[in-house]
Amino acid sequence: MYLYDAFDRTLVAERVAEFRDQVARRLSGELTEEEFKPLRLMNGVYLQLHAYMLRTAIPYGTLSSAQLRMLAAVARKYDRGYGHFTTRQNIQYHWIKLAELPDAMADLASVGMHGMQTSGNCVRNITTDQWAGVAPDEIEDPRIFAELIRQHVTLHPEFSFMPRKFKIAVGTATNDRAALRIHDLALRLYRNGAGETGFEVMVGGGLGRTPFLAKTIKPFLQKRDVLSYVEAILRTYNQFGRRDNIYKARVKILVHELGPEAFAKEVDAEWRSIKDGNLALDAAAVAEIAGRFRYPDYEKLDDNPRELAAARRADRGFDAWMGNCVANHKLPGYAIVTASLKPEGGTPGDATATQMDAIADLADRTSFGEIRVGHEQNLVLPHVAQRDLVALWRELDAVGIAVPNVNLVSDIISCPGLDYCSLANARSIPIAQEITRRFHNLDLQRDLGRLHVNISGCINACGHHHVGHIGILGVDKNGEEFYQITLGGKADQNATLGTLIGPAVPYAEVADVVEDIAAAYLELRQRPDELFIDTVKRTGVEPFRERVYAAR
């Protein structure tokens, strides 16, 4: 956990005071909606179909149990008893009243939380690996640099009115769990041939109506230069990014139109003028931030305690959960546990206040009071002693969050879609719900293996459909909801955009199509362990297209 100090607390409190004043001016009519809009957006407040929506930042997806309890309390007091965890590791409340927003924000501020820069044309919440600090394949904790960048860009006087939003991700592990290449800016820490650690800098990724994977513009950046280089990128984008067309305003278009080399040259020229100035990071500055992260006081434990193996043999349900929801921790005797927020028939990423309170209590008892939010919209208990796993499983099961479907076909990423969002063309949630019902048989899900279904209700792609193994995009055809299907996308270290398989299909047929695709895969795979994504890569989309459209 990063511990807030007096600076952090003062800033958040001053932000709440400012927003209270802005809301008062809006309610009195002193501010027009047009003038109020960018102000509320910079605090994560959207006006949706039915009500205001408040998006609260969860920097790099790390939460304390006290913060999660406060998220539950806000859900109860100001919303309808639940919240929605998003693909940016944030939480959204969909039923907030404008007049109550300042109070909700003050409650959140009491545990160091806020909605700053969760919307608007500024740098958004910095995301990273939800297993940061505990993953066996990581070089060092990515949250140190995520926090350095978060602080640097918070209320940045130069970059609060950029052409469009700007999303940054930081990754430091061999396996990319942060979807680096679909970000405006991604920093990947690695060790070079000389044994030094530094960052590969990638710019211009993003989904939406013109999807691009980020291009590497600097193969190796020294750690000392991270802030100055980020500053140079943002300054280049702020000055030259397009402002004439909202759909061409993201940095990916600038990188594409200039070409990555010319963009990199522009950035480099700017960077050289500032790199040795007051943004250069010395060891003391990095150590200062690193020192504010508190790590658990782990015990010295052995891997695979005897009672764990016995419990797995004794209970098939527990064994299935262990095989699916529990991952290796970097320390022996500990484990990383994922709590699936994707029950059959549920809304992906939704958690009730009761569930949030239960997870907060379990985190206190079994995970040193810490919880993570993953971009796949599940929650993670990152420091569980293996001897506690059986008891934890029973308690998670009691509140309905022990479904062993992580990374399986029903672990769907979905945006809120037309049920809530004023931008959407089509519904996402009922599509996800129907798919989970069709595949309710867990044995079938396990047979299908790793299979990511991502659903977006419009071209803005909040549900990351381009990088789903099966991507589903809602479109509007003469007032009716239709869905385009793509196959073969992925967001890991070998990120790929999916390929469209054919004409869009109507709402009522989407789940049938997913079943057809799954059936085609079972016939096409060469071996039971050839993953869906690998079959698609080997065969291309053609055999799937034939299967889906033969009967349509």
Binding site: E18, E35, L148, H156, S160, R243, I274, G277
Partner: protein, 170 residues
């Protein structure tokens, strides 16, 4: 459109000269960028303070040779959402060391004051009189800053490192 300088509403000493209008003698003037670049040699020899209105889609590097002769540069916010001039201001102050007056013009509203001051502006042609009246309290809204900028505020990180070195905690 009230003008705010040094935290107070003041009279504008400068006269705006439109494209082809004759240049008045001795009084402080602000000329458009195109006029300035066309007649720069002549304008800088003239008696009286010289300012230029610089558009936000033109590199401020073009102004570098003339900065010593300019008393004021006005940077434009055609819409308050269009934040290009923040970058121009910081470059003028921090990269080129411009020490004259930096004026924000256009869609300049209350909720930008804090950012404008931090980016190096010290003169504000404010759009609404009500906003100009609360300039001082708006700017004072944030007492801490995370990042260094053109206003010379010491950012939180440096203050923490210093405090740690002197054995104090924050």
């Amino acid at each position: 459109m009230p003008l705010v300088e040094s935290g107070r509403i003041v009279e504008d000493r400068y006269r705006r000269v439109v494209d082809d209008a004759p240049i008045p003698e001795r009084v402080p003037i602000i000329v458009p960028a195109s006029r300035f670049l066309a007649d720069a040699d002549e304008l800088i020899r003239r008696d009286g303070s010289l300012g230029v209105l610089w558009p936000n889609d033109r590199r401020v590097a073009e102004l570098a040779p003339w900065l010593g002769h300019l008393a004021l540069i006005a940077l434009d916010f055609p819409k308050f959402r269009d934040g290009r001039a923040y970058s121009q201001a910081r470059q003028l102050r921090e990269t080129y060391g411009f020490a004259g007056t930096l004026r924000a013009t256009g869609d300049v509203l209350r909720d930008q004051f804090h950012f404008l001051v931090r980016a190096g502006f010290d003169s504000f042609a404010v759009k609404k009189p009500a906003d100009a009246a609360v300039f001082a309290e708006s700017v004072a809204r944030y007492s801490v800053s995370y990042q260094p900028s053109a206003d010379g505020r010491v950012p939180a990180l440096r203050r923490r490192v210093r405090a740690a070195e002197s054995g104090k905690t924050v």
